[in-house]
Amino acid sequence: MGELTVLPEGAEVEIEVVLMLPEEAIAPTATFLASTWKHLQIKTYDEGPGGAKASAYFFQASIHPNLEAWANAD
């Protein structure tokens, strides 16, 4: 359903993420991205130096209190 790629040093961004969305979710996603969502949580597998594959993802306006310590960790 998606993957994370660690880009070469010197690239404009460090990590690039591609996520596949259900077709019917495209329009709501555009609205939510512009208005509501501030965080993206991705669960990964097959992690390696070059990146990882996504096994789950969630878009959110706020970080759940149970995850705050984890999300703010280095």
Partner: protein, 149 residues
């Protein structure tokens, strides 16, 4: 608290979250409820609300869940199941008033847009209260501002 035969509710909308989550589906989930054969696709939106009316519940928090109306919400001989109002106080940490609303698929994109821009209030009518649950009879969203005190 939800004991009335019929009760009107007015809820102020304070924010919302969620709307898109994809995750692997456990084998226990029936195939009919899976997305693409092996995934769970959650489009559910969580709204943070504050009860304005009835007076007995005023100022209490209400968590409102929005999801899409599916075919299984309709059955012969019974009104469509468009949602519930629940009082889950004491059931879970942070548990309290909750409402689940099912809206037509055709209205989903409009609802997402209006929720982010226009809607500020939710009116609901509940019926057949048994103390913990009421069946939702009707609901409507509007842009009316909060009441002046």
């Amino acid at each position: 608290m939800l004991t009335e035969t019929r009760q009107d509710f007015l809820v102020e909308l304070r924010g919302h979250d969620g709307g898109l989550g994809i995750l692997p589906c456990p084998p226990s989930v029936p195939k009919a409820h899976r997305f693409q054969g092996g995934l769970i696709y959650s489009r559910m939106i969580e709204i943070e609300g504050r009860v304005v009316a009835p007076e007995g519940l005023a100022d209490r928090r209400m968590r409102v869940w929005l999801d899409q109306l599916e075919s299984w919400h309709f059955s012969r001989g019974q009104p469509p199941h468009i949602g519930d109002i629940l009082d889950r106080t004491g059931e879970l940490p942070g548990g309290g008033l909750e409402a689940t609303l099912y809206i037509p698929k055709e209205a989903w994109v409009t609802a997402v847009c209006c929720l982010s821009t226009v809607w500020r209030r939710l009116r609901m009518t509940g019926a057949n209260g048994d103390g913990r649950r009421m069946t939702l009879v009707d609901f409507s969203f509007s842009s009316d501002g909060p009441p002046s005190h």
